[in-house]
């Protein structure tokens, strides 16, 4: 089971986030970081280990609960879930390219192009 860490780009101004702030961003409840800049959460595809581990650790919610939550949001026209990438390698590439992005990758992939928040 991969150990998953929450990361932003090393070029991002964000150095810390509370767990509530983090989960609010991923659930689409807020669209900006505490400093006012735009937040761009990115998910891994449904059914992937890192995704399920991320939501279990940060929000204490199962994959089905997250799906039910987004069903409610999508089917009430209130928003859309974050875009998805296929795995941690793709996630890291996306975050390297975009200073506003926030996501989660395998701990083993961490290097100095990304900053670990959790």
């Amino acid at each position: 089971m991969a150990d998953v860490v929450v990361v932003v780009s090393a070029r991002s101004p964000i150095t810390a986030l509370s767990k509530n702030q983090l989960i609010d961003i991923f659930l689409g409840k807020v669209s900006r970081y505490p400093d006012g800049t735009e937040a761009m959460p990115v998910d891994q595809v449904e059914g992937s280990g890192p995704r399920d581990e991320f939501y279990a650790k940060t929000a204490d919610k199962s994959a089905a609960q997250i799906k039910a939550y987004w069903s409610k949001i999508i089917f009430t026209g209130r928003g859309q879930p974050p875009p998805t990438v296929s795995n941690s390698v793709e996630m890291k590439k996306w975050i390297q390219k975009n200073p506003a992005a926030i996501g989660y990758i395998d701990r083993a992939l961490v290097d100095d192009t990304v900053r670990v928040l959790y």
């Binding site: 089905a64 609960q65 799906k67 939550y69 409610k72 999508i74 089917f75 026209g77 875009p83």
Partner: protein, 418 residues
Amino acid sequence: MNNAHSLRTAIALIAVMTAWCRFDSAAADADSAKSMFSFNAFGTLGVVHSSEDNADFTSSTFKPNGAGFSHEWSADVDSRVGGQVTANITPRLSAVLQLIAEQNYANSYRPEVEWANIKYEFTPDVSVRVGRIELPLFLVSDSRKVGYANPWVRPPGEVYDVVPITNNDGIDISYRVHMGGLSSTLGAAYGRTYRLDFPAGSIADIQDLHGLFSRTEYGAALFNLSYVAAHISLRPVSALLEDFREFGPAGEAIADRYELEQKLATIVSAGASYDPGKWFATAEWTEFDGHSYLGVDTGWYVSGGYRIAKFTPYLTYSALTVASTSAAGLNAAALPAGEAGTAYALNVGLNELLATRPIQRTVSAGTRWDFAKSFDFKLQFDHTRLGHGSAGTLINVQPGYQSGGTVNLCSAAIDFVF
């Protein structure tokens, strides 16, 4: 019916907006998930059995039949399929079209437009929508038809059937405020006309709808407060009430007081839910005043559940009561013999009409099983105790029906989302 017109208008609007903004294919990444159109679908396949053979149980007062008298096992009560297309035309402009196929008041599954609206976001916190928009009367009003999004087979009828209307043709504006960890969305809606032509020939007309909504979230807690006022009419007018008009000013006053003709109906509702992950608890209360023979309905429920592996067993207690009213009616004693008899009969008829109100309490126990990705299965038992002399929310009441008893329901459903 407005639906065909609204559907054409919505599609025309979306086509026009799309033609205005060219889709920039250069922005599409190899891994891009941000294309302009997205399609989602949801549905429920459910069956219900009712122990009451002399009346039907349904999930909406708009349905013409259900489980019990019409069908031993009814698949019409909860089954439906919905499809939604969302177009993100620019970062601030989006459009949504949602169609739902379910048993409607004409006993057909013809797809109807649930939503067709354009949304413009001035900022991420301030937006306006025009078209056919969801009406967030209760906590899960706007997702009451998406079985997968809710723990129960259906939201408790004692609250959700008080007003079964789920959308509004008009405009709404919403404003979101953030204060620390608290996020509050305030909304105001205005709708013009909404008209239902029932197959039996009667027409329900809802005009001049005004609504105020407030939704506050704090971590795992959610609070909802809403108020809607509209002018409603039900035609043809009641023959009984029209007969009162033969009796001079006193009769006219009685007819005006109780008839449903351009009557101001108001509904207030408050709800709260807490869902930290392993368990949930939710409660709602609502009060509807029809300012007519419809009286004042008060409905509420409390519900809770616990998640164990892929199962979520839950328990709900709900109640619907109506303030008891009676009418003195006409002063029959002051009339000559021939008219007095008629007046007396009308008074009795009026009081019978006022007394025929939905009063019931339900205990409901069930479980949800998330057996596969995008699917869930639910099994639910409802035990309803009807008020004295009341048929509750049952329809198609047959001559042999004995009011004030109990009804037991068994419901099984499979929900899915794509």
